[in-house]
Amino acid sequence: MNRNRRIVQFISILGFIFLYVPIISLIIFSFNNSKLVSVWSGFSTKWYFALLQNEQIIEAAKLSVFIAAFSATISLILGTLAAIALSRYRSFRGKSLLSGMVSAPLIMPDVITGLSLLLLFVTLRSLIGWPAQMGAVTIIIAHISFGMAFVAIIVQSRLLHFDKSLEEAAKDLGAKPLRVFFDITLPIISPALISGWLLAFTLSFDDLVIASFVTGPGASTLPIVIFSKIRLGITPEINALATIIIVLVAIFATLAMLQMKKIPE
């Protein structure tokens, strides 16, 4: 037994090293003095300054944050509605259709989603003249379509574990349906809402493939810019950018984790 446990432990430690070696190497070489990202030649923060002066990247980052925040918010609303419909209403027309469409985007390859949405937009344009141009709007619509699916799955699983007598108790104590929702349901599912929003934000902020399909002139998101730079070769500026993103994510994730602990089951 002990030997088996050691093997499991050994593989796990190797696994964690595997997960973190690339990330740590990214961070280390973001402080490298030389332009090479594989040979150390002294500490420097110059790539961070270079990054901050790179207008193309800064603009792309702003656009990506805007698109991600906007689409995550709409995803949150639509996904929560879908979750309520699926977990609270016993049966309605299109329930199995809705439940299928909610879980499909979870594993749909990006190339298919991207291609199909682009073809939809092209068809729509030839039919009704909208959208006149591909750009931020079409990217936002595309991101909502998969973001809401993730929100719906998370919120749905929280609602399924929800003790319904809590809502009944509030009703029993004189609260009307809308009041019950805001007093009881919403606070209790709020951790799920927060993680759903964060997930939708991250997926949107991270998306390259779908955005590449449905983007248009002047709407280059951060991943599109990074990808075009990487194809030209690696540069420490990208390492600096990666470091900033990783540090931000780590801070947010830790805060979220601590916050979760405060909220009892």
Partner: protein
């Protein structure tokens, strides 16, 4: 009477509210998820042309006011006749299957280790798994370029230690491709497995041990069967997106490692052959549907266990 009217008003507003809750998301997904697939299917049956849009219409009113429907199966014939596409398909399947296997091999012990760890450490370990998943996918793939290329970190270290004389070519090989996929999708394997294993009742293991099960028997007769839904869910979460993967093969894979996702993209953007790209998408979907159903069932089972 007043009571009755109030009652009716309330019933109507409740019904309206319920309808909005159901039909807003349903409508959105119909328009932006299901309809696009129908369009893809339609275009996959159209003929390519030079113009905008670059395909011929399927429905046409002929001179004598007859609606003619032109179905063009040439795109699908092309997929089966040109070995480029068939090879890409088989290659994608192979790479996705093998990567899923490797991911399971590393992910299962990790998930088990986390699930059985002390509660305080468990949350930290879980955070360590989730953290890379939240940070940029693209940048994590990018990190491997720096590690794997000829004058990259790994080769430099090996050269300095005198283990090798000349750099090993790792970047742009199948090896790099596998590393990239396993690395990127590892959290997707660990998380559902962990969610399953953490619920595994310790008393079942004690009971099995009490009845004489040795460690290996314990694993194969109790732990493995009970964690099957988690294994299936995790495997599908790796296998399906890996089939259509575009970023990893184009950054880490060699020019000869053909995967459908990449070919679809090339057909679409470089060749501007929308009908063939659509046919590729339709064909890709058909191999995904079976695993998709498996995944759904595994999810249902998980929910059933939860309740």
């Amino acid at each position: 009477m007043r009571n009755f009217i109030r009652q009716r008003e309330r019933a109507i507003s409740l019904k309206l509210g319920k309808k909005l809750v159901i039909y807003i998301p349903l409508f959105w997904l119909l328009l932006f998820f299901l309809v696009p697939f129908l369009i893809v299917t339609k275009i996959s049956l159209s003929q390519i042309t030079y113009g905008r849009p670059p395909y011929l219409p399927m429905f046409e009113w002929s001179k004598d006011n007859l609606l003619t429907i032109k179905l063009y199966f040439g795109n699908f014939f092309l997929l089966f006749s040109d070995s480029l596409y068939i090879n890409a398909y088989l290659n994608s399947l192979k790479i996705a299957a093998l990567s899923t296997f490797f991911t399971l091999l590393i992910g299962y012990p990790m998930a088990y280790f986390i699930a059985r760890a002390d509660e305080k450490i468990r949350n930290i370990l879980l955070l360590l798994v989730i953290l890379p998943f939240w940070s940029s996918f693209l940048l994590r793939v990018y990190a491997w370029i720096g590690l794997l290329k000829n004058n990259g970190i790994i080769n430099n270290i090996l050269l300095n230690m005198g283990i090798i004389d000349s750099p090993i070519k790792m970047l742009n090989t199948d090896f790099a491709l596998y590393i990239g996929i396993v690395y990127s999708y590892l959290p997707f394997m660990i998380l559902p497995l962990y969610a399953n294993l953490v619920r595994l009742d310790e008393k079942l293991l004690e009971a099995a041990r009490d009845l004489g099960a040795k460690p290996l028997a314990l694993f194969f007769t109790i732990i493995l069967p009970l964690s099957m839904p988690g294994i299936i869910a995790g495997s599908m979460l790796v296998f399906i997106p890996a089939i259509g993967e575009y970023i990893i093969p184009s950054l880490l894979g060699g020019s000869d490692s053909l995967m459908i996702g990449r070919i679809l993209w090339d057909e679409f953007s470089a060749n501007r052959d929308w009908p063939v790209a659509s046919a590729l998408a339709v064909a890709m979907l058909t191999i995904i549907i079976l695993p998709l159903i498996l995944f759904k069932n595994a999810q249902k089972k998980e929910v059933a266990i939860d309740e």
